[in-house]
Amino acid sequence: MRITRIDVQAFGCLSDFQEEIAPGLHIFHGPNEAGKSTLQQAMLALLYSFYESDRARSSESRSRERLIPWNDGRYAAQLEYELQDGHAYRVARDFSSTDVPTTLWDVVTGRDVTDDFGRGRHNVPFMRRQLGMTKRVFEACAFVSQGELFDIAGEARVRPQEIGDTIVSLADTARRDVSAQSAIDRLARVFREQVGGPQARAAPVPVARGHLAEARRELEGVQSVQEEVRSDASALETTMRDAEALREAISRSRYLLYQAEITELNGGLQRLRELAERAADLQRVIEEHAPFAGFPAEDRDGVVQTWGAIRDLRERVDAGQAEVEKHQRRLAELAQRRTSLARRQRELSHLREYPGEKKPTVDRLLISWRSVAAVDREAQARLAAALSKAEGLLEEHDQLHSDVGRLTAADLALLTERLRDPHAAQRPTIAGLLLAAAGRAWRMIVAAGRWALRKLVRSPEPEPAQQAEASTESEGADFGSLTSQEVAVLLHRHRRYLEISPAVQKYHEERDAAGRSRSALDDSARQLAEALRGLVDDLSDLEIAHAVFSERAAGRSELEAVTDQLQSIESESASVEESVNQFKADQARLGRLEAQLGQQLETAVGRQGSLEELVASFEQGCRGRQALENAKRELREADERTGMVLGGKSPTELEELIKRREAEVADLLSESPSLAGARTSDSREALKEALSRQAAELQQLQLRIRGLRTAIETRLTGLRPRAEIEEEIERLERDVADLGKFGQALNIAIEVVTQAMTEAHRDFAPSVGRFLGAGLERITGGRYQKALLDPATLRVTTEVPETGRLQEVETLSRGTRAAAYLLLRVGLAQHMSAMSEPVPLLLDDPLVDLDDLRVEQFLELLSEISEEIQVLLFTKDERTRVWFERQCAGDPTHKLSVLPSRALAEPVGSALSVRLMG
């Protein structure tokens, strides 16, 4: 864009001001208060108005109010500009009201094109559309106000991100009618319309996929049917093979069956012949036994039974005759015996109540008594013998016993020693010491011996007890006090005592034994007597008493025996009498039966005779009748068998059947010669059954074959040819694949365009940084050669040559800093211009902080840039004016307009324009 002209009715200090604007570098030069900044603000207000949106912000209203004309002129202005594409526009704005009425004309056509850009309440945003950036971005990049050089991204101004976004947006335009976003939209629309996502059911891809799925299902259906056909065909092949095998099996079964039938039919015919012969024989038998037709053979069982009974009775009667006679004799004997026994019974009747049952007890007591008495007798005899031996010794023994009976063996040994050595008592010897030690224990005995000895020699002595007591008191009194004579006497008496003691001892023992046996005898006699008491009258002699008892008890026993014999006789008599009576009854029954049977048989056989003859005749009649019946039955059976053999057919028919079967067998053999000689152990019925089963199976198989053939043919009918379906599937698959590939390509294009937009955003900082570096190098005479721009903060860093480190320009000199930020603005504008509509630079005194050399370098840079970007420089700097006059004289693309000071003057209507032309 290049501004070509401005007309100001009234705007701040400006009034009725017009100026043609140079397409390259246009410098508005003038002192302070000449209206340079107002003119710059007027251009900004004409391009973007004071208001950015429909809602008027107070800061925007304050800006408008600050620039209300100083005089009474109409607060309005017009601006003409050209775009790169050749279009030229004139904008007229009326700033007198907050709505800022705006009109935009196409200069070439003269058409009011205001509405083409959308009319807002306070603004018509044509510049936003045509330049591709907001007012704030424009201010940040292309519009440098006095004193705001360093405040590119101040809080009240634009965010760095917004500048980046604008750059991307500008890059989008690509100097074309279609922006990158539009390209994305177009690609997306094509994707939507010609490909379609999975959600868009009516879009080509889902539709094609739907058709494809449908066609695949149809193909699967066809394949499934083909598979079924394949299965059916396989089954058909198997079934046909099975049927063929079954047919062969049927032929074999039929062959075997016919063979069996032929054999059986021939056998049947033979059987018929045999039956006919048998029937003739039977007929003869029937005729022969015809007279017995009415014979009562049915009575035979009764006759036989009666005849048997008669024969039994006869045998019994014959055999019983002798027995009866013997019975009668016995009865006479029994009567005689009964008389004799009855008499004896009466004789013994008084003993009926006698307790003969006590006899065993009494006999046992008697035996015991007799045994005890024998023992007693022996004891008394032994006592008498002992007494005879001891009778003269008893008294002496008693005396000796009391004298020396208590001496012990030790006493005797001591006494014997004393007798051999009479001084032994005064000499202390070991034996003597031992004796003395033991003597105390035997003091009493010694005393007793001494007493006995003194008594023997008739010296008065105290009782042994007293003597022992005295000895105890005298301490040491013992046998030592005895004399040898006394000792000898004592020892002699002791030997005598030992000699007689056995006899006396024996006597005492026998006496005690005799006493005990006598006592036992007395007890036994008392018990026996007690047992017999009351049973006999006299108990004085137990032997006699027992004999009496025994006799009475025997009588009692005999009485009982007689009584028993009488009862036995009575019983036997009764039994014999009964036998006799039975015999008589048999005789009577025999007579009755013989009469009865004889009468019956006479009637049956029709003649008289003995019973045996009649029975024989009857049996003969019965046999005749039986033979007749048997012949009749066999004849019937033969008839039945004949019928069975014929099986409802005549013999002729059977013969024809045999011929037919033989012909069929011949046919089977001609069809399958291997059947010849086939044999089986199966019966004809089994063969018939097997044949029937096989026929049924074959029928089933044939039905199955027919069914399978029908199924195979019918399954395939009505189906679309598989080739057509496959072609459709292939076409749809290719469609889907192509569409997929198409969609993929579209998506990649969208993705890459999006990435390109991002890259444009990302790349503006390096691009501007490069411009900054080159600019700084030029302006600073090569001191600073590298600069970096942080896109996030729009802060500039540069490499300090002394340290080689990057350093923020904030820390450098004000002049360098001013140059850096001015270059940043120019670089941003140039970057944006390179991508889209060239952005005019409106710079208000940006060079005040630069030294002379840098000012000139910068002006040269601006001059070069103005070939592409229009540069409007508002300055009071004299060096600039001088530089312009020196460097740009004669260049028609550049212009210097001098604005006079109007601090005390009336607002001026135009600048003093200087166009230095060659």
Partner: protein, 375 residues
């Protein structure tokens, strides 16, 4: 003298899926295959041959309909009492659900249903020995099992692959070595499987592939044949007889310098000639660099030109004439877009390249505000 008309690989009821034909067109192609069989029978009757032999792949087992089976039967019955000897191949194997097995064939038709060689005696002391494929993938060399000699002329008939000349992409079924023919003792082997006509050796052939009677896709351009075998006192002679009615052709049109779709239409129509619709099944490949504004709407081109050909297929392989080098230098999003995609293209494999090239093309068309069409 005995004469045998031999053909193979008719592929009745085949699918033309690979050609991307519309269903109606493919159906027309299938009808043309049937027509070829009618012509072969007509030719056999006209030549009054002694027998007709089929070297397999008469139909395609998976796709053949019973109607086609009846059609074949009807045609072969026209040849009665001349015998028609069929050696099933890998596409028409002798299997229980196949036509050969389940249809009732005319009495003059003999199908070799065994993998063992079976003889059929023809008039003139000629015996044809045949084997049939019993499945779709027979990999055994069956020819090695054939040993014939004697005074008779023995001819082998089967569907197999000469392993010394298997075409690219073709499977070798029932493979054999060339020497196996001579070793078998057969005077000649009537074969099927390869779709182009082959006689080997050329000067005194011992075996012959007639090729498919009609071309089946664009790789089978040129004439197609049946073989006429003559066996007599002097031995065996074979002559190919052209039989096809349909011919496939591929033409390339360079759209460079053509600035409108009308020009492209005109160029396509010019291929048809001036004598009415072209009898050829034609594929037109558009190539070269197309003007950016050139609208190559394939469907529209087909609609406008299809009537000038028996069948027309158009393949667009053009490249739009963008000046990529200039665009990539732009400090614009478009320039960045081209740079980025070209970088991706440089790193892409062959499979990705096509999509990326399309993406580049579509993106630039979008930047240019042009209509974007799928190629």
């Amino acid at each position: 003298m005995t004469r045998i008309l031999h053909f193979a690989d008719l592929h009745l009821d085949r699918s033309f899926a690979g050609l991307g034909m519309a269903s109606s067109e493919a159906t027309k192609r299938r009808e043309e295959l049937r027509a070829a069989l009618r012509r072969i029978v007509d030719l056999a009757l006209e030549l009054n041959v002694d027998a007709v032999t089929v070297g397999g792949d008469l139909y395609e087992h998976d796709r053949v309909t019973s109607d086609t089976g009846n059609f074949i039967g009807d045609q072969f019955s026209r040849l009665a009492p001349r015998p028609v000897l069929i050696a099933p191949g890998n596409h028409d194997p002798y299997v229980p659900d196949g036509l050969y097995w389940r249809l009732r064939w005319p009495d003059n038709v003999r199908i070799f249903d065994s993998m063992s060689w079976q003889p059929v005696q023809l008039a003139g002391s000629v015996t044809v020995w045949g084997v049939g494929h019993r499945g779709p993938a027979i990999r055994d060399n069956l020819l090695r099992d054939l040993r014939v000699d004697g005074a008779q002329t023995n001819v082998a008939l089967f569907h197999g692959s000469d392993v010394t000349s298997v075409p690219e992409g073709k499977s070798a079924h029932c493979p054999f070595e060339r020497e196996d023919v001579a070793r078998s003792g057969a005077a000649f082997a009537l074969l099927g499987h390869y779709h182009d006509m082959r006689l080997w050796p050329a000067d005194s052939p011992r075996y012959g592939y007639p090729g498919s009677p009609e071309p089946l896709d664009f790789s089978e351009e040129g004439p197609h044949h049946v073989l006429l075998l003559t066996a007599g006192e002097g031995g065996v002679a074979v002559a190919p007889l052209q039989i096809n009615e349909v011919t496939y052709q591929t033409k390339v049109i360079d759209v460079g310098g053509i600035s409108s779709s009308d020009g492209v239409r005109e160029a396509i129509r010019n291929l048809a000639g001036e004598d009415g619709p072209s009898p050829l099944v034609t594929r037109v490949v558009l190539s070269g660099q197309s003007e950016v504004e050139l609208d190559l709407d394939k469907d529209a081109l087909l609609r406008a030109s299809a009537d000038y050909f028996r069948y027309l297929d158009i393949v667009n392989r053009t490249e739009p004439a963008f000046d990529f080098e200039q665009i990539r230098e732009e400090s614009t999003t478009r320039g960045a877009f081209v740079r980025m995609l070209q970088k991706r293209l440089a790193d892409a494999n062959e499979a990705e390249r096509g999509v990326l090239e399309d993406a580049l093309r579509y993106g630039l068309q979008a930047f240019a505000g042009q209509g974007i069409r799928r190629r």
